[in-house]
């Protein structure tokens, strides 16, 4: 048995319908909205601002902190307990680590840039949607960045390599692998790589090549979101 037809009828390398918007939260220094199918994320950036507790301060450069949160009603109907849990903590950490290589806060020693990501609705690929929104929000906030980060989940469902998995595919009753990847635009460096399930080495390389290709589409979308905000403004 092989996976010949995707659950939602997409082509194997086709992404879900995506939407991006910059500057959606007026109070924040920078903000963004990113939607991939039924996964929706909002990111808000505050800072650079004073960092407390003081022992976290780095006198050489500013630091970033990510907060990832799925809203209680965001899943399939089962209430998610609000606040930090083990999973949210892990994702907050990997988001911070995925954004760190592109951010240049050497001009802002001892300061912090806080990135808050909220997900009002989820259908797999939340950390990728969070990362895409965070990247737009950081650029919108005018934080010095070396590059943009675009992220997508790739994987293998019952022997077929696919891009941008939905929940139904992640939990497909067969051998499934789910690999969220974040790629920078200019150098095509991978800043986030995680995996669930199993995949052969050969297929993994194929999947990563696919990720590098499709993140280009996401980058264009992110760029357009930023341009649209400032064209309207300017």
């Amino acid at each position: 048995m092989t996976y010949t037809q995707r659950l939602d009828g997409r082509k194997f390398d086709e992404l879900r319908p995506m939407e991006a918007k910059a500057g959606v939260i007026p109070n924040a220094d920078g903000s963004a909205y990113f939607r991939a199918g039924n996964t929706i994320s909002y990111a808000a950036v505050y800072g650079p601002r004073e960092l407390f507790p003081k022992h976290l301060q780095n006198p050489k450069k500013g630091i970033i902190r990510c907060y990832y949160n799925m809203m209680p009603f965001s899943g399939s109907g089962e209430r998610i307990r609000p606040g930090m849990n083990r999973r949210a903590q892990e994702i907050s950490l990997v988001l911070t680590k995925a954004l760190n290589p592109v951010i240049d806060l050497s001009e802002f020693p001892n300061s912090v840039v806080d990135i808050f990501v909220e997900l009002p609705q989820t259908d797999a690929g939340t950390r990728c949607a969070a990362l895409c929104a965070a990247s737009i929000a950081l650029a919108d906030a005018g934080i010095p960045m070396r590059d943009m980060v675009s992220a997508i989940a790739v994987g293998q469902v019952d022997g077929t390599i696919v891009a941008d998995l939905i929940y139904g595919e992640e939990s497909y009753p067969a051998v499934v692998s789910d690999i969220p990847v974040a790629v920078t635009h200019n150098n095509k460096e991978i800043t986030l790589l995680q995996m669930d399930g199993e995949i052969s080495k050969k297929d993994l390389i194929k999947a990563l090549e696919l990720a590098k290709g499709v993140t280009e589409t996401i980058y264009e979308l992110q760029k357009k979101a930023l341009k649209d905000k400032f064209y309207k403004d300017n």
Binding site: D29, P48, N110, A141, P144, N186, N234
Partner: protein
């Protein structure tokens, strides 16, 4: 290597990339990017408006609305002799706003302030508003054309801090009109002939005020 990386850019191999979202400018061989948004970076000589948040042994700590607070030393605050045991809160209390000038910034962004020049003083009365610090040059205008226009038309005292904090003092109606005018400049900062448009806007509103009163 035909070009050199200027403000907000960096070089990687042969190419020059922008570090921020902004507009590219070329002056000689130097490529620089003017950011469209972003934090205020303190520079020596900038006039800013800040709130006093603490009183120390030798002066006041001022919140500059950046990641860094600044120090206003007693000797840079007044020409008067201050006795050792004098209560500094009598001069400037915690919570007061001050118009000050940056006289020194270190690599760690520690800021020293001065209040010893004309036009620098603790604020009494009026109102304080905030705008995007990148729009400050437009609010001031070429040789201060925009801010002079708003000052003259609304008959308000206005000081624009480079950190995006603006102090306005006049009659209540005129203060509100000045706030609206400044917000409008911030919103339409890109447009051509903005000074003329603002003149029209202010005249119309002043006329409406006279008619209603």
């Amino acid at each position: 290597m035909d070009y050199l990386p200027g403000d907000n850019t960096y070089r990687e191999d042969e190419k020059i990339y922008s570090k921020v979202l902004g507009l590219v400018g070329l002056s000689g061989r130097v490529i620089r990017v003017t950011p469209l948004s972003g934090p205020y970076i303190p520079r020596v000589g900038d006039k800013i408006i800040g709130k006093v948040i603490d009183i120390t042994m030798s002066g006041w700590r001022v919140d500059t609305e950046t990641a860094y607070s600044a120090l206003l030393n007693v000797k840079d605050a007044t020409t008067r002799y201050i006795k050792k045991e004098e209560d500094l809160s009598k001069l400037i209390a915690v919570g007061d706003y001050v118009i000050v000038k940056i006289i020194n910034v270190t690599s760690q962004n520690l800021i020293d302030l001065s209040m010893k020049e004309p036009g620098l003083f603790p604020i009494k009365g009026g109102r304080v508003i905030r705008i995007n610090n990148q729009k400050v040059p437009r609010v001031i205008g070429k040789q201060g054309s925009m801010i002079t226009l708003i000052k003259n038309k609304t008959n308000c005292e206005i000081t624009v801090g480079q950190n995006g904090v603006i102090w306005i003092r006049g009659t209540s109606e005129n203060e509100l009109l000045a706030v609206r005018a400044i917000k409008l400049v911030e919103e339409r900062s890109h447009q051509e002939g903005l000074t003329e448009k603002m003149e029209k806007f202010l005249d119309e509103n002043l006329k409406a005020e006279v008619a209603s009163s």
